[in-house]
Structures are given as C-alpha cells and as structure tokens.
C-alpha cells in the first residue's frame, strides 16, 4: 500500500494513500464533488471542469478529478468561489443544451438535471440562438443527439478502453464538436449499448427504448440475464408487466454496469410473435389449442400408462431453466418415472474438470477473480464474442492492474490487442502451444485458465496436469454457453450423475441413456423436452414416441410434439441459476406472459396428475432440498437472496463422468442465443448479425419454420 498522506477537506482531517485523487478522497469522506467527465476506471479527461475545488496556496481552482492528495493539502469544496464556478459551468453547459427534458428519455435520470438542481442557477441569462445539430441514427440500437451532448467523452472511453471496440471518436472543433462513429456515419460494433448507458444525459438513446416511457413509470427488477453463461445482473424496466428496458446502472451484480447486447436488449423474445400462450395438443394429426387442464391430464395419463408397462422414457432438459427446475426434473425422472435417461446439451466439459479438480479448494475462478488475477490464459475461445463479461473483466484487469493475458486460439481474438503472448494453434494442437508458453507462465505468480469446448475428456485432465506442473496457484473456468449450463450439470441433468456429481449408483440406480442415445433409441416410448430444441439438429428415431415439449416457441422439436406446454422464460419466474464460474444468483420475476407457466410448476402439475408427491413446487423450498443434497450449494442464503452471487466449490470425491464426446458448444456469439436469440428483434436487426467467432462469420441455423398454429 502506498504511503498515507494527511490532508484536509472542508475542515476535516483525512488520510489516504498518496496518489488518491481529491475527488475520490472526498467521496470516501462523504463529500460530494460534482463531475461529468470523471468516471471511475476510465482515463482522466479534466474536460468538464465541474469538479473544480479551491486548494490553499494554489493560485486558481484545480480540477479535483486529476489532483492527487498531498501531505498538508487544504481543500475547500464549499467556498463561494467553488460554488460560483459550478454554477458558472452549468450555466455554460446549458447555453446550447436544448432543454427538451419533458420529452427526453433521460428525464428523471439525467445527471445534468440533477447537477443543475443541486448546483446550478434557477434562471438563465442566455438570450442568444442556440447551436443546433440534428439527431442521427448510428445503428438500430444507438441514436445520437449532438444538441444534448455535453462532450464528457465517457462514451468514447467506455467503448475504446472498456470494450476494446473503439467505435467512437470526437469530430469537428469548438462548439461544433460532436461524437462521431469511427466507421463514418454508422456503427459496426458490439451494439452493447454501454455508451448509451454511461451517457450522463440523453444524447445517446437506445433504439429499443427511446420515447417509450418516462423512467419513473417503470418498476426496476434486478434479475440475471438469461442468455450466455456469464450471469450478468440486468435490471429490467417493467411497465404494466411488460419489459421495456434492460440496464444495470446501479452496478449491482458480478458485472458492475457491464452488459452486452443480449443482456441489455435481448428481452423482447418475451413478447415476440409466435410466443406460445396456450397448451397445444395433437388432434387428428394437428396441434390444436387446449386448456391447461386437458393438456396436463393427457400428459399425466400417458406418462402413467408408459410407466405402468415399464416403457422407455427419454428426458432432455435445459440450459436455461433454473437450478430448482432442473433438480425437480431429475428428481421426478428418477423417483416418479423411474428412469435415468436424462441429459442436456453439454456445452463444456464441466464434469471432467470436476473430476480432475476433486478434493481441491479454490480451484474455480470467480468472475471477480478475473479482475484481480495477475495472469490469465485463454485456450480455445473467442472470449469477447462468446463470453463477453469475462472478456470485459480481463481487459479491465489488464487496464487497471497490468495483468498478463495469454491466448492460445485457432484464430484472431480481441484479446490480441493487449495479450502478452498470443499463440495461434489449431484445435488439437493446443498442448504444443502451451509448452511454448511454459517458461512465461511459470514466471507468473498465479494463473487463471479459461478453456473452451475443444478441451474435453482427457484434454481437460492434461490441461489440469499442465497447470499443476507450473507449481503456481492455478484456477480454472470451463467455458459453457448458456445462463444455466453450469446449473444443469450441477443439478444432475446427466444420465450417470446425481445432483452434486455423485454417481447414480450411489442411489442404487443404473446409468441411463445419454442425449444422443435417447434420440437414437428406436424403442423410445416417450420423449420429454424441457426448454431445449434437440430436433433442430438431430432426428428422433422412435417415430411413434409420445413427445411432450415445454417451450416458449413452436420450435422444430415442439412441432413434432404431441403435447406442447407453454413455459415461462427466466424473466417471468423465480429461482436460481449458476454462472460459468459456478456463482449462484437469484432470478426475479419481471414480466408476466398470459397462458404460460414456469417449468417448475408444470413439472409439479404433471406429477400431481400422476398422483406422485415430489414436494411442493416453490423454488425456495426446492432450493432447500438442493442444499440438503449438494454440499457446494450450502452458501449463506442471504448472499443470494440479497442479490449477490454465491461462489460454489467443486466436489470432494471422484466424478464418474462419461461421454465427454457429447460436449459441443453451440458457438453462439454476441448476436446469437439459440432459440431465444432467434426471437429477439434487436439481435436480428443489427447489421453485425449473425456475428463472428475468430473473425469468421458464424451462420446460425435457418430460422425454424413456424407454421401458424391453429391459434389463429
């Protein structure tokens, strides 16, 4: 820690490490110094001059955002001179500001309004004609109104420094200065909206939200993004049960205020055309709308019948459903249906990693670790495209702490911009590349290794052996795709593993059929799919199987179903999910969609139809059951309930894992998100879609044909 210096602000003696900026020292002491251009973690600008303070023995007012505290320094933030300067600065700022607050999206949440209210003058002395420049649309997501822009350059910096995209710049000179996209007149960027969110005024507005509401008309629901596995907190703005905005201005959650295009804008699948609002049942070969009672009775009856004649079930669970739903589903499968034929789309080889790390503490990195680790190694992943928050964290770590980042990837990645060493290696050649880095890695104090889906089975063990051989503390992140990919594995949506990675044999069961075996089994009697779309890529061999699908949309799989049950999305229910780093966080219900039910309730109702009792379908109750069974989920509940993220540790015993060959990432990038992504108008609208991985275009499978259901 740097030396402490003693100084005075507004008559209060304070101490802080040398190098602390006056503005931050004041903030710590509860003294607010207004600022526009200063932004924690971004480069210093000293451009807005809002933060000027009086420092004794200095001839003029000094910007507190660039002035470090010094021994014996005496600072005044409340003198008449300082107050006058703030007032004067705001008066200047407002001269060319359009003051269209009544229709501005930012009204009520605007820093310029707040500052003027607190520090400004009540009257304007400006009687001249304002400088005006028309608003521009840069992308379907980003609009820029130069007239409202106060030129604080936050947007420029977050995009360049924060994201490494560098899409924005400053153009023209003097009063005509404005922000311009580096790509002439439009953006070709991550479309993350970070620039919009960080804008203190309404100069940058979002195509998805603009002119839809006044901020105070919304409820703000902090929940977890349902797209990728990183588990960003997204605060959904909800009006009349409808989500109209996503952001995370309060910086709660593991992501601070970071969100990618999906976390911020990809919520409109909730009300997308084609969203199922009533159960469907195949009658005379056609799916017809029926009541919930009818549909559930039919499922219960058919399941009971198949069970009675010892028929063959196959169950495919989801990467998006909650831990409670997954737990409940496998419990229902194993105890009521009496089958172990249960699996899910495995997008990373988490089970082998758990086995390789057995018995260790602190072997899994958290999202927070990525910001503090001294070194990190990325193997086989285009982090900025596939794991946006993790990429952001590592970049911030490099910016703020000079972390050394190494990348072993088959193609170019954004981390190339700053990585200490980059090795291009085709899949299968990673280990030669790693050897070439050995000396450098060995010289690091500690390391976090993040690996993508090509590292599976023995390769995972080899990677851990490599990590061990460095003789330094190493932590791992097995990169998976979806919001609860990790939870699906933790909760035992696997044919051979119970929740907590215990062998099914421990419970006296035999391992069941895996994902592909279920689909390939010619004598399958029933296929039950919850929040997954296996038939978009695979055939169902058992032509006569009774198929039940719980989903939001009439996917390829749902089209083959005998009964389709409309499910609620993550934004419409409660429960917990576990992110890629094994951190458990809580969902909060934001929207309501008529006709749909949470999967937990649907499973509960089916069991009720079958006169089975597997406990009440209330997520808090199921979480208690999980905690009784899975030791790593015995984190203090308060952490999760208060909106925090609870880290989980790997298991203690060996994991009898199998079928690493089934591991395959869906190769989603920033603009993909499986079925949900296909139904997000924003993701489809941006010109960058479908996006790239390793600089190469990734084409999503053709949009599912969605024949009009008989609803219409």
């Amino acid at each position: 820690m740097a030396d402490l210096v003693t100084f005075t602000i507004d008559g209060r003696q304070l101490q802080a490490p040398a190098g602390t900026l006056v503005i931050n020292a004041a903030k710590k002491a509860g003294i607010e110094i207004p600022a526009f251009c200063y932004y924690d973690g971004l480069a210093l600008q000293a451009a807005c001059r809002m933060c000027l303070v009086e420092i004794e023995k200095m001839p003029k007012l000094q910007p507190s955002c660039t002035m470090p505290v010094a021994e014996g320094m005496v600072v005044h933030t409340d003198s008449e001179q300082v107050k006058g300067a703030r007032k004067g600065m705001l008066e200047f700022l407002l001269t060319n500001h359009p003051l269209d607050c009544p229709v501005c999206d930012k009204g009520g949440e605007c820093e310029l309004q707040d500052m003027t209210f607190r520090y400004g003058a009540a009257e304007s002395r400006f009687v001249e004609i304002k400088v005006h420049e028309d608003e521009k649309q840069w992308s379907p997501v980003v609009y820029y109104d130069p007239a409202r822009c106060i030129l604080c350059y936050r947007c420029v910096r977050i995009c360049d420094e924060g994201l490494g995209v560098n899409a924005l710049s400053i153009g023209n000179r003097g009063v005509h200065s404005e922000i311009i996209p580096n790509n002439s007149d439009h953006l070709n960027c991550d479309e993350c909206g970070a620039c919009i969110d960080i804008c203190p005024v309404g100069a940058l507005t979002s195509g998805a939200y603009r002119y839809k509401t006044r901020p105070w008309e919304m409820d703000h629901v902090g929940t977890i993004c349902t797209h990728c596995s990183n588990g960003c907190k997204t605060t959904l703005g909800v009006r009349n049960g409808e989500i109209i905005r996503g952001n995370n201005r309060d910086r709660s959650g593991v992501n601070g205020e970071f969100l990618c295009v999906k976390g911020r804008y990809a919520f409109d699948f909730t009300k997308a055309p084609g969203r199922l609002e009533t159960p469907l049942m195949r009658v005379n070969g056609k799916l017809q709308p029926v009541s919930w009672a009818q549909a559930l009775a039919a499922v219960g009856q058919k399941f009971s019948e198949i069970k009675q004649r010892n028929g063959k079930f196959g169950i495919i669970g989801s990467n998006h459903t909650t831990n409670e739903e997954n737990f409940y589903l496998q419990k229902f499968a194993r105890h009521v249906l009496g089958t172990s034929n249960i699996d899910h789309h495995r997008t990373g080889d988490i089970t082998t990693l758990m086995d390789a790390l057995q018995g260790r503490e602190n072997a899994l990195a958290t999202v927070g670790d990525l910001y503090t680790t001294k070194a990190a190694l990325i193997v086989d992943n285009d982090l900025a495209q596939q794991q946006p928050l993790l990429a952001f964290q590592l970049r911030a770590n490099w910016r703020h702490h000079k972390a050394n980042v190494y990348a072993v990837t088959p193609g170019p990645v954004r981390e190339d911009q700053y990585a200490k060493k980059i090795v291009r290696a085709a899949e299968g050649q990673e280990f030669e590349a790693l050897e070439s880095l050995r000396d450098q890695l060995q010289a690091e104090e500690e390391l976090v290794i993040l690996f993508g889906d090509p590292i599976k089975g023995d390769a995972v063990r080899k990677l851990v052996a490599f990590g061990d051989s460095l003789g330094k503390p190493v932590k791992y992140v097995c990169l998976v795709d979806y919001s609860n990919s990790r939870g699906a594995a933790d909760m035992g949506l696997l044919p051979d593993l119970l929740p907590g990675y215990r062998s099914v044999r421990d419970a006296g069961l035999e391992p069941g059929l895996a994902y592909d075996e279920i689909l390939n089994s010619s004598d399958l009697d029933a296929l039950w799919v919850i929040g997954a779309n296996p038939l978009s890529r695979h055939e169902l061999v058992a032509a006569n199987a009774f198929v039940v699908v719980q989903d939001l949309f009439l996917t390829e799989t749902a089209q083959r179903a005998d009964i389709v049950l409309p499910a609620s999305s993550a934004y419409e229910k409660e429960g917990t999910v576990t992110n890629v780093c094994g951190e458990v966080q809580q969902l909060k219900r934001a929207a309501r969609v008529m006709g749909s039910k949470p999967d937990l309730e649907i499973i509960g109702l089916i069991s009720k139809e079958m006169k089975a009792n597997i406990g009440i379908w209330k997520s808090s109750k199921v979480l208690n059951e999980i905690r009784a069974e899975v030791s790593s989920y015995r984190f203090p509940l308060i952490v999760v309930e208060s909106g925090g993220a609870a880290a989980t540790n790997p298991v203690n015993g060996p994991v009898p894992s199998t079928r690493s060959d089934l591991v395959q990432s869906a190769r989603n990038n920033l603009f993909h998100s499986g079925t949900l992504g296909r139904h997000c108008s924003t993701l489809k609208a941006v010109v960058e879609a479908p996006g790239t991985i390793y600089g190469e275009l990734v084409n999503e499978p053709e949009e599912a044909l969605e024949p009009s259901t008989t609803q219409q």
């Binding site: 600008q45 000293a46 000027l52 400053i170 003097g174």
Partner: protein
C-alpha cells in the same frame, strides 16, 4: 525578403542576416558565422551549454516567457527513451509575424539552434512544426534542411562528433490551438489537436511518450548567437531577468508598422514614436495590445513602460508573443472586443466546457451588442462570463480569450456604454403592433 525598412534603433542579433542577398542560403549563413556555434557546442558538456543558456536570461518567445535555460535543464538526459527537439512555428497569435521572417530569411539559424538543443539533451531527432497556412515556408525550411544534409551538417555523425541528428518539418492543419505545446504534440502524432493533461510536462513526457524539448522558433533562433557571444553578453542586451533582444511585431495605427529587433525593456512609447515613426495621420494614441491578441490592452497613459516580461506582468498584461498592436483614438473598442472573441470562438478546440461554451456565448453577445441590439445588462454580463472562464479552462486558450475581454470591459466600460446609447435610438421606441 523583409517587409519593412529596418530602424536604426534596432539591435540586430537574430535578424542580422535578414537584409543580406540570398539570406536563406547555406553559403550566406556560413559566410556570416553560420554553424560556428554548434561546432563550439559539440566541444562543450550539456551542463556547460545549459549554464550558458541560463546566464543569457533568454525567456521563451512563444508567449509564456519561461526561462529557456531552465526548461532545457528539465529534460532528463539519463533515460533509455528517445528525446525529441520540437520547434513551435505554429505562429497563430493574432498580431504576431516574426517566426515567419526567421524561417523565411534565416532558416539555418533556426536549424543550428535546434541542433545545439539536440546535442544538449542527447536527442537525435528534431521537428519543425509549421502552421499549415505557411505553405511556402515549409518549402524554404525543407530546402535549408536538404542543404544541411548535403553538407553533412545533419544526419549521421554531425561534424565528426559521432552524434546523429535529423530534422523534419511537419505541418499543422490550421488550428490556433495546435500552437499550444501539448496540442501540438497530439497533432504531430497524427491525432486531433486537443491539449494534454499537465503534468507531466512535455520535457518529461512529450512526443510519443518521450522527453521532449519544445521551444518557439524565435527562442531556438537566438541560441547560436548566445553561444557565440556568451550568455552574459546576450543577457546584457536586455534588462535584468529579461535577456537579449526580441522581434517586436508592431502593427496598427503607426506610420511604419513592421517587425523590429529591439532589446527587451525598450520603452513602448519610444517604440511607437521613434521606431515606427509615430501615430498614423497624427492621431492620438488610445491603447496598445502589447503581446498578441491574448494580452490585456494597455490604455495610452499606461504605455510609458519598458517592454519586457516583468514590466508587462506588473501591469497585469503580458509581453506574450511580441505582437504589439497600436490603436488610435478612432478605434472602436466594442468592435475590437467582438472581433477578438470571434477569433477565440473559432479557434476553441472544444475540449472543455468553459472555453467551448464561454467563447461561443461571449461572441454572440458581443456580436449582438456591436450590431446595435445590446442591453445594459450585457456589459456586466460580458465581464462576468469572461471571469467565469478565467483560470478554469483546461488550457490557456480559455484564459487567452477571457483576459483581453476583461481588459476591454474594465478599461473601456465607457465605450461600451456609449455604444449602447448610440445604438439605442431613443427617438423611436419599439413599436408594438397589437
């Protein structure tokens, strides 16, 4: 070519070759002590050269008047980083036109000065940053550089010393702000011309993050003479702490405007009367802008004063860039204030709020006021807004806009009031059509 007749009162140190035929040619320069100083310097230690510079009491001619020897001593010499020598020939301060003559008539003097600086701080590379509008001067300086290379004075192993030195020209793109040293560096690096946060100062972290010695063109041009005659002898020419001579660019309502080399401390009234042949058309002196448009105006009664940095500071104005603008009794101060602000408004880089918005607002008020739509409350407002800018902007351009405005309003408030009365025609009160 020079643009005015020399005056017998001049003390010609850096302008001595201006009147020679072919003055820019290397042979002319060599025939008149050219490149002797750098040869002498190569036999001296950096410390000895810096001592000589300090003894000369040379102060920066770019505007701020910072002691040059001291600036040279700030450049770290024990570093692995390259060091750069940069000549500020952006000359954009209204009323200033001396660097132009120095480059046009004696470019080798400038190059030699930069070489001495380069040797002193251990640099191998120099840039002459020339304002874009001086297109023809870029050619002249380029030609001089080429001549110096031909003779082996630049490039590898300068004068057999084993030391390498290259000089390049670089052109600005038409921004006053790019004369501000840190904005100049941004521009040199190919970026938008906005100033940098200071500290660190360019001497420590300058071009390409490396130590950089940046001086005005006239400052560098004085260096060879200082080394030849010795620092104390040069200092002797001026007043205490204000060594040597400088080029005064005298414009406005005098009979013989021009650029004259005079010792620092030369009396301003004598400058007008004896050097410039008195006021044009026998008019009375009203005021003088003593050091470029950024310096607050002096009223006629304040003009019996020695022209050096300290005397000007005592009068709360600046010797600045040496641009002396003489104003006669017919000068419309309101129009002058308006025109001055128009310049700064146009040139504000826009980086910081008080300068960007302050100059724009002030220009609009002054425009309106001058046009005849002034209000009595505008007069205090102008002063107040300028004071709200003063000392609060990111770089000194904001001060440069505020200071003269405050000067005009404070010293010539009566003229603003008279202008208001003159333009508000009491005969025709506003007609209200119902």
């Amino acid at each position: 070519m020079i643009y005015n007749e020399p005056s017998p009162l001049e003390v010609k140190v850096i302008s001595q070759r201006f009147t020679l035929p072919n003055s820019a040619a290397i042979d002319t320069y060599l025939a008149t002590d050219g490149y002797l100083a750098v040869k002498k310097a190569l036999g001296m230690t950096p410390e000895a050269i810096i001592d000589e510079m300090k003894a000369s009491n040379l102060r920066g001619r770019g505007g701020a008047g910072f002691p040059t020897g001291m600036k040279w001593s700030f450049v770290p010499r024990k570093t692995d980083k390259p060091r750069y020598i940069i000549c500020n020939s952006d000359e954009s301060e209204p009323g200033t036109c001396k660097d132009r003559l120095l480059m046009e008539n004696d470019p080798h003097q400038l190059l030699e000065g930069m070489m001495i600086a380069g040797w002193t701080v251990g640099s191998n590379k120099g840039y002459v940053f020339i304002r874009g509008e001086y297109r023809y001067l870029i050619d002249i300086v380029d030609r001089a550089i080429a001549e110096a290379y031909e003779r082996g004075f630049l490039g590898k192993n300068v004068f057999g010393s084993g030391w390498d030195f290259d000089i390049y020209t670089h052109t600005g793109a038409g921004a006053y702000e790019c004369g501000e040293e840190s904005a100049l560096l941004e521009s040199l690096e190919g970026k938008r011309g906005i100033p940098r946060l200071k500290p660190p100062f360019p001497a420590v972290v300058g071009a390409w993050q490396s130590p950089t010695l940046l001086n005005n063109c006239e400052t560098f041009s004085a260096v060879p003479a200082i080394l030849r005659m010795g620092g104390p002898a040069y200092a002797e020419l001026g007043t205490p702490k204000n060594g040597g001579t400088r080029l005064f660019c005298i414009s406005g309502h005098v009979n013989k405007p021009g650029v004259y080399e005079l010792p620092l401390g030369f009396n301003l009234l004598r400058m007008i009367d004896e050097v410039c042949g008195g006021m044009r058309n026998g008019k009375k002196l009203k005021a003088v802008i003593p050091g470029g448009s950024s310096s607050p105006v002096l009223k006629a009664q304040e003009c019996d004063v020695p022209m050096d940095f300290d005397s000007m500071a005592k009068l709360k104005t600046m010797a600045g860039s040496g641009g002396v603008v003489v104003l006669d009794e017919d000068t419309d101060i309101v129009q002058l204030a308006m025109r001055t602000m128009k310049f700064y408004q146009h040139e504000s880089c826009g980086w910081c709020i008080p300068c960007r918005e302050g100059t724009t607002w002030l220009k609009k008020i002054l425009d309106r006021f001058h046009e005849g739509d002034g209000r009595s409350e505008d007069i205090p407002l102008i002063g107040e807004l300028a004071r709200n800018m003063l000392g609060r902007t990111f770089c000194a351009l904001g001060d440069a806009a505020a200071m003269p405005t405050i000067g005009f309003i404070e010293k010539f408030r009566d003229e603003f009031e008279a202008h208001l009365l003159k333009t508000q025609d009491p005969q025709s009160p506003e007609l209200i059509v119902l």
